[in-house]
C-alpha cells in the first residue's frame, strides 16, 4: 500500500531514529580525522552536515537536532583547536555558526517535509476510502437487474449499469457520454419542458416512457427520476431507474381490445335479444288472436249448426277445435321456452327434496288412476333458480308418468347419482317405453319428438326447456335408454 511505502523512509522506532543520528555523527568523525590527517582541512564540516541531513531524512526533526548538537560538540572536540577539549578559539566561531545554522535549517526543512508528508498521507487515505466506497456503490448498482443510469443536467450519460446494458443493448462504454434522450429516442408522455419544470421543482418524476433499444425494437418503461444536488443545492445529476413494462402494456392493450370487442358483441347480443323479444311479443299477441277467432267461430258454428250436421261433419268440427287448442298450447310452451332464455335467474339455496314434493303435487292429475311405484332417494341442496328448477322436475316427472302409461306397474325413481367433486347429478328413471339411443341427440331439441302424437301427446318443448334451464345453471343434461326398457334422464349442476 502507498501508506507503507511512505512510512518506510522514516525509521519506525525512535531508538533507531536517534541511534541513526548518533551513528552517522560517529562515522563522520573518523572520516573527518582521516581527511584532516591528509591536510584536507575543514573537510569535516560537510561530513557533519551530511550526517545531520541523513538523520533528518530518515529520522526526522528530533534526530536531526541531536545530530546537529553532537556534530557541533564533536567538531569542537576533534577539529577546532585546541583539540581534545571543548574550548575553542574565536577563529572557529564562523565554522560553528555555519554548522549550527545549516543544522537548524535542515532540521526545519525536515519538520516541514514530515508535516507535508503526513498531510499528503491523510489526503490519500481519505481519497482511497472514497474510491472504495464509490466502487462498492457502483458494483451494488450493477448487481440489480433494474435499469439504472445517471445523466448530468445536459442529459449526458455519466453512469450506465448492467441492467441498462441488458435492457437496451448498449455497453457502458457505448452509452457513457451520449445524450440519453437521443440514444434511447425517448418518447415522453407530455412535453419535455413541462416534465423538467416539474422535476426541477419537486426533485422527482415518475411516468411511462417509450425507448428504442440498440436492436431497434421499442420498449415501454415505467421511469423514475430523482435529482441529485451539490452542497450549494445546485442540481448536478439525474438518477433514472427504468422498469420494462412492455409485456404488461401489451397485455393491457390486448385486454382493452378484448373488452371493446366484448362490449361490441354484447351490444349486438342485446340488439338480437330485443328483436327476439319483439318477435316473442308478436307471437304472443298476433298469433294467438287469429287462433282464438278460429276456435271462437268454430265453436259458434258447432252451437248453431249442430242439429244440421251429420256425425262426420261434427267430427270435423271437433278436430278443428282440437287443433286450435293444440296450437294454443304450442304457442304457450314456445313462449315459456323463450321467456326462460331471457328471464334473469334468481339463485338461492334450496332443498331438492322439498322441490320434488312440490313437483309431484303439480303432476298429481297426470298420475291419477295409475299404478305407480315411486322411489325417491336422498337429494342434496341445490343452488339455483327455484321456480326454473321446479319446471325442470315437473317436465322430467310428467314425462316419466307419460311414457310409463302402457305399464301396468309403473316404476319411477328420482335420486342423486355419483357426480364428481364439483358437480351434483340428479336423475329421473322410469320403466316406460324408452327410446332408441340412436336418436339420443334429438331428445333435447325444440319440437323434436320420438313418438307420434297419437301415442303420446306433447309439444316437443319440455326437454328443450329442461336443457335450457340446466345450461343456464352451468350444468349438463343427458339421457340413457333403450326401446321398451325405460329411460333415465340426468342433469348436473355445480355443487352449492
Amino acid at each position: 500500500m502507498a501508506q507503507s511505502k511512505l512510512q518506510l523512509r522514516i525509521a519506525q522506532s525512535s531508538v533507531l531514529r536517534y541511534g541513526l543520528a548518533v551513528a552517522s555523527v560517529t562515522i563522520a568523525i573518523p572520516i573527518g580525522l582521516f581527511l584532516e590527517h591528509h591536510e584536507f582541512h575543514r573537510g569535516a564540516i560537510p561530513l557533519f552536515l551530511l550526517a545531520v541531513a541523513l538523520s533528518a531524512w530518515y529520522g526526522g526533526a528530533g534526530p536531526a537536532m541531536l545530530a546537529t548538537v553532537l556534530s557541533t560538540l564533536s567538531f569542537d572536540y576533534y577539529f577546532a583547536p585546541p583539540v581534545h577539549n571543548l574550548n575553542f578559539t574565536l577563529a572557529d566561531v564562523p565554522a560553528f555558526f555555519f554548522l549550527l545554522t545549516f543544522g537548524a535549517l535542515i532540521t526545519g526543512f525536515s519538520a516541514v517535509r514530515r508535516r507535508v508528508e503526513a498531510e499528503l498521507l491523510q489526503a490519500r487515505n481519505r481519497l482511497e476510502i472514497e474510491v472504495a466506497k464509490r466502487t462498492q456503490q457502483a458494483s451494488l448498482l450493477n448487481l440489480t437487474h433494474d435499469t439504472i443510469f445517471v445523466r448530468d443536467m445536459s442529459d449526458n450519460i455519466l453512469y450506465w449499469n448492467r441492467g441498462a446494458e441488458e435492457l437496451y443493448g448498449w455497453t457502458p462504454e457505448q452509452a457513457i457520454g451520449k445524450s440519453s434522450h437521443e440514444l434511447l429516442r425517448t418518447v415522453f408522455p407530455s412535453p419535455l419542458d413541462d416534465i423538467e419544470t416539474e422535476f426541477l421543482r419537486t426533485g422527482r418524476w415518475e411516468g411511462e416512457l417509450k425507448h428504442m433499444k440498440a436492436d431497434g425494437t421499442e420498449v415501454v418503461v415505467s421511469s423514475r427520476w430523482s435529482l441529485r444536488r451539490d452542497e450549494q443545492e445546485q442540481p448536478i445529476a439525474v438518477l433514472e431507474t427504468n422498469n420494462d413494462i412492455t409485456v404488461r402494456k401489451r397485455r393491457e392493450q390486448e385486454i382493452q381490445n378484448l373488452n371493446r370487442e366484448l362490449a361490441k358483441r354484447s351490444m349486438e347480443l342485446e340488439a338480437i335479444n330485443k328483436e327476439l323479444e319483439a318477435f316473442a311479443y308478436s307471437v304472443s299477441h298476433d298469433l294467438r288472436a287469429p287462433l282464438r277467432h278460429m276456435a271462437g267461430y268454430t265453436e259458434l258454428l258447432q252451437k248453431k249448426a249442430s242439429s244440421a250436421l251429420d256425425e262426420k261433419s261434427k267430427h270435423y268440427v271437433l278436430m278443428m277445435l282440437d287443433s286450435a287448442k293444440r296450437m294454443g298450447n304450442l304457442i304457450d310452451d314456445l313462449l315459456a321456452f323463450s321467456r326462460i332464455g331471457r328471464a334473469e335467474t334468481q339463485k338461492t339455496l334450496f332443498s331438492l327434496t322439498q322441490l320434488v314434493r312440490e313437483a309431484l303435487t303439480e303432476v298429481r292429475e297426470d298420475a291419477e288412476g295409475r299404478n305407480i311405484a315411486w322411489k325417491i332417494g336422498a337429494l342434496p341442496d341445490f343452488y339455483g333458480d327455484r321456480s326454473m328448477l321446479r319446471l325442470v322436475l315437473v317436465n322430467l316427472i310428467s314425462n316419466a308418468i307419460k311414457f310409463t302409461r302402457t305399464r301396468t306397474q309403473a316404476e319411477i325413481e328420482i335420486g342423486c347419482a355419483n357426480g364428481n367433486s364439483a358437480d351434483l347429478v340428479v336423475f329421473v328413471r322410469d320403466n316406460g317405453v324408452g327410446f332408441d339411443m340412436k336418436y339420443v341427440n334429438k331428445l333435447f331439441g325444440v319440437f323434436q319428438r320420438l313418438h307420434d302424437s297419437g301415442a303420446f301427446e306433447g309439444t316437443g318443448i319440455g326437454l328443450a326447456t329442461v336443457q335450457r334451464i340446466i345450461h343456464r345453471h352451468e350444468g349438463k343434461v343427458w339421457a340413457e335408454g333403450a326401446i321398451d326398457s325405460g329411460a333415465t334422464f340426468y342433469f348436473s349442476a355445480p355443487k352449492p
Binding site: A289, H293, Y297, T298
Partner: protein, 152 residues
C-alpha cells in the same frame, strides 16, 4: 233478467272486428250487451271519454267499466290507461285490460299505471266466453260503480 235494469255501460276498446264480434256474442249470451260502446283504437276511446270528435253529442256520464286491449292503432292501450289514470275526472273508471299478451312487462306496466284487472284472452272459446261473462257480470252488474257512471 231483473239485473238488466241496472246494467252498467261498457266501453269496449278493441281494434280487431272479430274480437269485437266474439266479445259481443259472449256478452249477448248473458244479456249483458245492451249498452256496449265500441272504440276501434285508443284515440276513439279517448274521444268517447272526453266527449269530443264523433262522440261530441253523446249522453254524459262515464262507463261502468272499460275493457281495454293493449295493442291498438294510433294510441296504444297503455297510453290510454296512463291518460285516464292521470285525469281527475276519469281516474275512477274501472279499467280491465283484456289482451292476448301474457308478457310480464305488459302486466307490470298496466298494474303500475293503476289498472283494476288484467285478463288474458283464452284461446279456448268456452273459456273466453266464461271470462267475458264473469267480467261483464262483475263490473257491469255486481260492482257498484263510482258516482257519475251511467246505469240504465
Amino acid at each position: 233478467m231483473e239485473t238488466v235494469n241496472k246494467l252498467g255501460r261498457i266501453l269496449l276498446v278493441e281494434d280487431d272486428p272479430k274480437d269485437v264480434e266474439l266479445t259481443l256474442t259472449a256478452l249477448e249470451e248473458y244479456n249483458l250487451a245492451n249498452e256496449v260502446i265500441v272504440a276501434r283504437d285508443g284515440e276513439e276511446a279517448l274521444e268517447y271519454l272526453y266527449s269530443r270528435g264523433k262522440f261530441m253529442t253523446r249522453s254524459s256520464g262515464n262507463p261502468s267499466v272499460m275493457l281495454l286491449d293493449l295493442k291498438l292503432p294510433k294510441v296504444d292501450g297503455l297510453e290510454v290507461l296512463k291518460q285516464i289514470k292521470s285525469e281527475e275526472k276519469l281516474r275512477m273508471i274501472p279499467v280491465v285490460v283484456l289482451t292476448s299478451s301474457k308478457e310480464e312487462k305488459d302486466m307490470v306496466a298496466s298494474y303500475r299505471l293503476g289498472v283494476n284487472a288484467y285478463v288474458v284472452k283464452p284461446v279456448d272459446f268456452h273459456e273466453f266466453v266464461n271470462a267475458i261473462k264473469e267480467l261483464g257480470i262483475f263490473w257491469a252488474v255486481i260492482n257498484e260503480p263510482p258516482p257519475g257512471s251511467v246505469r240504465k
